[in-house]
Symmetry: C2
Subunit: 554 residues, 2 copies
């Protein structure tokens, strides 16, 4: 009989040093569980990439040991990689009903089977080999969020998932403090906790504070009200609908993902809407402006979203009028600032009143601020701590906060994706590294766009391309057609005739010189053309287009 191993491993495959693609592996002997499986939106320099998912080579290599994937909540950065992961791995997926509801529609879109989805609820326990997995209700900006704890023969691990400690949540379902405290009392070996707001002092305000601003805005608005928010923020949508009902307004839901999530949430009972409140967007003109609320997507200024189209006067059904009040109930996700601001500016240009975060209390975060994090640490009182879910500076700030709550520095591990953390009841260490990193998804290609393709896209994006085609006689080695030039994204060719003639002359000179010297290797001719033109073009334009000499032989 094999000896019971006295250690567990924790391996983050995503979410370390980044906001997104959260994925954490817990391994005890030959039992593996996975917590979350998220995507990330591409960085600015990942040109043309649609989304980024974690590298799951480690999971594929160890597929026979995986007992299940356990989800904390239904945000894209926690479930968005599953349409890809489940094509590789056939394992059970556990999540709360709303989480699975949202996941189902993503899987259907991608033609992935729903057979392995297993609903759980706070209080349930799932046996995963020698481990036992439990769920604890927490507050977050999406309903039905849970923290996950894993009981192993070595000790208990708690993973908070994304959370805040909202003392007055919209649905009244408060974080299960007693359960957290009970785990803490019994002894927790390792805590992994959300670091998103580790920079932010104090407490994150309750979701209900947004309801107060809704009330004030709805009370004073005379025309239509258009509310843009994250489609997954059921509680925000609930508050907007409740306020609409209070002020006797009808609500139209707009935007594919908003319609989708609202339907799921209503079906599952997470969103409560009085009969007769919802109307179809086609009906809005049947009511006076003062009786209408439009709930829509586009709070991130996404170019194709409903709100952005309205702002640009490009929406088929809704035209902005100066009596409209537009509420953007969201904060720009880092990187989206300019898009959001552009939307706000265009709405103002159309004369609408715009309520947005920089100027009003119209959004609260879904993540715990520093005082809440400290409370979490004091409830759990873990022996070891691993900050997760944050850019590197957030992890560092969270590590320092943990020290302040009394965890010794040597028991805190700030690690990168792929590093293997190993814990015994007494000791923790970094014990190696597995394959980890971003896998880029571009259209149907998963992982086929790498550094070379991206480097080319970057060069093309900066100064375009100049193609030089020459047809050369195979026997005699001399030019018989061309050089022909084709350029894109470099200069406006119609106004650059002189430059183009200069380029042709330069090419002819290179070819003549090669011919005179008896040089016939294509590679040499091509690189000479590239060098001579590169220098000439930089001198004349200070630009460095990609230069592509093509030789056709006949």
């Amino acid at each position: 009989m094999a000896k019971t191993p006295q250690k567990i491993q924790i391996i983050p495959l995503g979410g370390m040093g980044e906001i997104g693609k959260n994925m954490t592996v817990v391994r005890y002997g030959e039992d593996i569980i996975v917590i979350d499986s998220g995507l990330m939106f591409p960085e600015d320099d990942m040109l043309g990439i649609d989304l980024v998912i974690p590298d799951i080579s480690y999971l594929i290599e160890n597929r026979e040991f995986i007992k299940g994937i356990f989800l904390t909540h239904g945000h894209e950065d926690h479930i968005g990689a599953l349409p890809y992961v489940l094509k590789e791995l056939c394992v059970p997926v556990y999540g709360t009903r709303l989480t699975l509801g949202i996941l189902e529609s993503r899987l259907k879109e991608n033609g992935v089977s729903l057979d392995n989805l297993i609903p759980i609820q706070p209080g349930d326990h799932i046996t995963a080999g020698a481990m036992k997995v439990g769920f604890i209700r927490v507050s977050h900006s999406i309903a039905d969020s849970v923290a996950i704890y894993v009981q192993t023969p070595v000790g208990t691990i708690v993973h908070t998932g994304d959370f805040k400690l909202d003392q007055t949540p919209v649905d009244g379902k408060v974080t299960q403090y007693a359960k957290l405290a009970e785990l803490g009392e019994r002894g927790v070996l390792v805590l992994l906790a959300d670091s998103t707001n580790a920079e932010r002092p104090g407490y994150t305000p309750s979701e209900k504070t947004v309801g107060v601003t809704f009330d004030e805005t709805f009370r004073n608005a005379r025309g239509r009200i258009i509310v843009a928010t994250f489609s997954s923020n059921i509680h925000r949508i609930q508050q907007a609908i409740d306020t609409a009902t209070k002020y006797r307004r009808k609500v139209a839901i707009l935007g594919r993902s908003m319609v989708n999530v609202v339907n799921i949430a209503m079906e599952l009972g997470y969103l409560k809407v009085a009969d007769g409140t919802l109307i179809d967007v086609e009906e809005i003109n049947n009511y006076p402006a003062s009786s209408i609320v439009i709930m829509t997507t586009g709070s991130q200024g996404e170019p194709m979203s409903a709100l952005t189209r309205m702002a640009m006067s490009d929406h088929r059904q809704v035209e902005i009028s100066p009596s409209d009040t537009v509420i953007i109930s969201a904060t720009p996700i880092p990187g989206n600032e300019k898009l959001v601001h552009r939307t706000i500016d265009y709405l103002f240009r159309q004369g609408a009143e715009v309520i947005y975060e920089a100027a009003s209390e119209i959004h609260v975060s879904g993540h715990a601020s520093r005082e809440e994090l400290k409370l979490m640490h004091n409830l759990i009182r873990p022996k070891f701590f691993v900050p997760v879910h944050g850019e590197f500076r957030h992890l560092v700030k969270h590590a320092k906060l943990a020290q302040e709550t009394g965890i010794p520095k040597e028991n805190i591990f700030v690690v990168e994706n792929g590093q293997v953390l190993e814990f015994t009841p007494d000791k923790g260490c970094v014990a190696g590294k597995v394959t980890a990193g971003p896998v880029l998804v571009d259209g149907l290609g998963v992982g086929d766009v790498g550094n070379i393709v991206l480097r080319d896209r970057r060069q093309l994006s900066q100064d375009g391309i100049l193609i030089v085609v020459m047809t050369i006689d195979k026997q005699r080695g001399c030019l018989i057609a061309g050089p022909d030039l084709v350029s894109r994204g470099f200069v406006y060719v119609r106004e650059s005739e002189m430059l183009m003639e200069e380029i042709k002359d330069k090419v002819r000179q290179v070819l003549e010189k090669c011919e005179a010297n008896g040089i016939t290797e294509w590679a040499f001719i091509k690189s000479s053309v590239r060098d001579v033109l590169g220098k000439h073009l930089y001198e004349k334009t200070r630009r460095r287009p990609m230069i592509l000499p093509i030789i056709m032989e006949v």
Copy 2:
């Protein structure tokens, strides 16, 4: 004799609905003056563009009337277009000594003559035809800033430039409240005022509050201190140097623009440094770490800057060590957030302590917040108001603030670049439009990159390019070489051999079909190739590379 006109025109050529390229024209009859001449950094979708300047067609058409360009201060968004503008216009340029000092180095770099620069100081008056121009000292995040007033036969115009009302400025030179009040008492026709912080409630803290944070940080740091800030913020640099002196540290200046501005400011007496304080960066290793401060550029995470190179372990002279304290004394300019955060993360990865805005009071704005704006309005008490220098939402917020201070709505004008505002002593209106807009500078090309080139760059950046070269026999119309394929930024070709073969087959099919039908027009053949391949590639990859068929005839 010509009748004295009873109206003045104000025409913004930049700075409306945008942060950057500030430029305002004031015209009385046949006298024109220009206030500021700034550049803007390119928007995200302006791929490969270096900078953006205002379209000055109007000024070129009216060049004989221009009496001068008057500068409010030395920031790029107020003086950065002059190297280009002064190549087109030969007119006097008025500015304070520091403003001209910074401008001179920019002009020299671009080979533009310095002959037309005329230094002024607060209190001076310049006659510009029938107008008289005066200067009022204001506080801002660069020393030697002025507001400008223009006395015309129709009335007085006040342009605040960029300002804040710092009651305890570092150099003790307080905004000239008395002069502003005096103008207000005598009657101001039009106020144009900085709208950058029109969203921000309360007062902007004094620059001196940053000095307090410097003191605390310097007092506690045991190793080297590295301070990154805007090179133009002389007062910030002064405070860092003063604090260094207090704690007996030597200061090394790093980064071309920082060295440049520090030299100019010291020469002109705007920066006071005790003898023996400054050392060369080559000397830093001759001193203990606890005796060193390095002042550097890179507070915006600019990829080539000194700080970014240090963070990436790519700096020739300075290597980050875990005992270093790095102070990033700046806020990310919108759009730079990700770059700044990346720099911070890499500094933390190297073990340094990093003090940055999100977590400390280490930066204050240079622009007036709402209560300061109200005070400015109440000092000037203009008849008409035009918010300037801001994105559209800032202009709208500033307009509403002006209404709160008592200016009637119909006397407030929120306009776009190029709109002509016309004022009589009693009435204001929009009276037309002149050419205005962004002129893109790419390398040596000014204005030659337009929509077509940008559209191509965008397409290339997303999915790359596929080039199909075919050599066709002129007489027989049949393919004699190729199709050859070259692709860049589309797929990794070595792993896409099958796709490439499919493409070649598709091309051959198109050519055969054309040949069979006797079609020989190149244009038709090319567009058939493009259509067939476009459809096929989208089906197979969900990508839309630029497809470039090239036919060579021999």
